[in-house]
Symmetry: C2
């Protein structure tokens, strides 16, 4: 994965996705990916994947498998580019996510509730239709799309900083770290996972990609049981530390972001703030940037968390 | 009130308040004053008022009377500038607002629950201490501070647009309208008031500043019973229409902003979106900008509104 790919992704995305705001609240810099059109950073890798092979996508359509933010992102990007999109989604996915995906223009293809069934259904569609397959977090195009967050930070921050980002498959943290560290090696990059799903932490400790059975967690966007190849490699090479946060710490962070910063974040999107607040980020004198990766929290849950304040 | 004052205010504010983001959601442009350090646009007029007479403010301190967003704004700006701040606040003001004002560094001076008592307590403090008195919405400095929202929009939007802003005392709408219309006369400016407090609408209809007894409303930041002189004059001269929205329409807009746009808005801050959604804004082909003036909604209320979704 080459730095030139990151710059290329940025140029591709420029007409479609303006840089997201970086705001300050209580001494933290917040990079508001929650303000992306689908409420999460995933539009970057989705859009970059489609633009990288747009002819085929327009001719044959696109297919992906995701139950969450990437599904919505592909639906949105495809609609914007005039591409037909099918999204394979487990029947157990929430109505909230299914409806959002449909509203952004994606056709939801239901499958059984296992990762294998999802992969199998997706493979079958590709074979039968020749649709462009895009991977949610482990391809050169998704990593380069994710890296554009890092490129924007290099513009928005003067000097060195410490950036804290959530980890699911490792694409976001890997892309940001590869971008930021190559350009400003004095920066720090910290990844955050839920205690319930520490697959990257386990992989770093074992020095190889390691599977962990995810336990239930409020961070429903951070549930990949094994890091992607590229994400793992970039994290090994460029990330300074991977820390873990609890459900309660993430809920507290969601609440604080709403009440103090006026930002709607989902639990996984608030994980970096949770890590800072629970003293797990040692940034020294560097200013801290938290990547608020998404805001797609179900309204009823969000309301319940706020009511507990 | 001169255009040069607006530019001067912008220069004064630049080191303290970066331009707020303008984001797009569901076809609307949202100007996120909710992301200001105190969660509302009022830091602009507060900061501009202090910087206009900083020597005296530093020597004698500052005093203002407000129960809401202006109180927090003066406390924040004073703390940042090393100025001592007293805020006269009715005993009936909510703990939420009182605590936020204290947390930003202001000393809260309680008074009885009438506008007269508040004015009297403030006057007494000025006489006895020589503190700088800043008015929440009716002075040249507050209007110029408010106008900086308009100056930023002129940078952030290409060509003509229709801007929709809430009205309380008329400073915000007046400042924005005076800035925008002088520079781009093809723009439209629409003001929004709660049905429960239509004092500007009544004043425009009567062709003079008119008092209306405010009824209870969810928009607790939009409760001025009579427009300010400057705000009224600028609205008469530059604003195309003043429309009214109901409590239910504002609550729906708060909900939609949270769920779709991932933005925390208070009821008054969501009033422009409520006006657009209830078809009260006729913008023709112009893109619509809604000023999300603030996000200081009490968590319990916000939770209850979201839970009803």
């Amino acid at each position: 994965v080459d730095y030139a790919n990151f710059e290329q992704a940025r140029e591709r995305l420029a007409p479609h996705l303006p840089p997201t705001p970086l705001v300050e609240s209580d001494g933290l810099h917040l990079k508001l990916e929650s303000l992306q059109p689908t409420g999460a950073f995933k539009v970057r890798p989705a859009m970059n994947s489609l633009l990288a092979d747009l002819d085929r996508a327009k001719r044959k359509g696109v297919v992906t498998s995701s139950s969450g933010n990437f599904a919505q992102a592909v639906a949105w990007a495809a609609t914007r580019l005039g591409v037909d999109a099918q999204i394979v989604m487990q029947r157990a996915a929430s109505d909230f996510k299914r409806n959002r995906t449909r509203n952004f223009g994606g056709a939801v293809i239901p499958c059984d509730n296992t990762m294998e069934a999802r992969a199998e259904a997706t493979r079958r569609i590709v074979e039968e239709t020749g649709r462009l397959l895009v991977h949610p977090y482990d391809s050169d195009e998704t990593l380069a799309g994710d890296a554009t967050v890092g490129l924007e930070l290099l513009d928005q921050m003067d000097g060195d900083f410490c950036v804290v980002a959530p980890i699911s498959g490792g694409g976001l943290i890997g892309g940001i770290a590869a971008a930021v560290k190559q350009r400003r090696p004095g920066c720090q990059v910290i990844g955050v996972q839920p205690e319930a799903n520490p697959s990257m932490r386990a992989s770093i400790d074992a020095d190889q990609r390691t599977s962990v059975s995810p336990k239930p967690s409020v961070a429903d966007a951070l549930v990949v049981s094994k890091p992607g190849e590229r994400g793992f490699r970039m994290t090994q090479q460029y990330v300074d530390d991977v820390v873990l946060v609890s459900d309660d710490q993430m809920i507290d962070a969601v609440r604080q972001l709403a009440v103090q910063a006026k930002v709607v974040a989902e639990a996984g999107g608030a994980a970096p703030v949770a890590a800072v607040q629970s003293q797990k980020v040692r940034a020294g004198d560097l200013p801290i940037v938290c990547i608020i990766s998404g805001g797609n929290v179900e309204p009823a849950k969000f309301a319940a968390w706020l009511a507990d304040a």
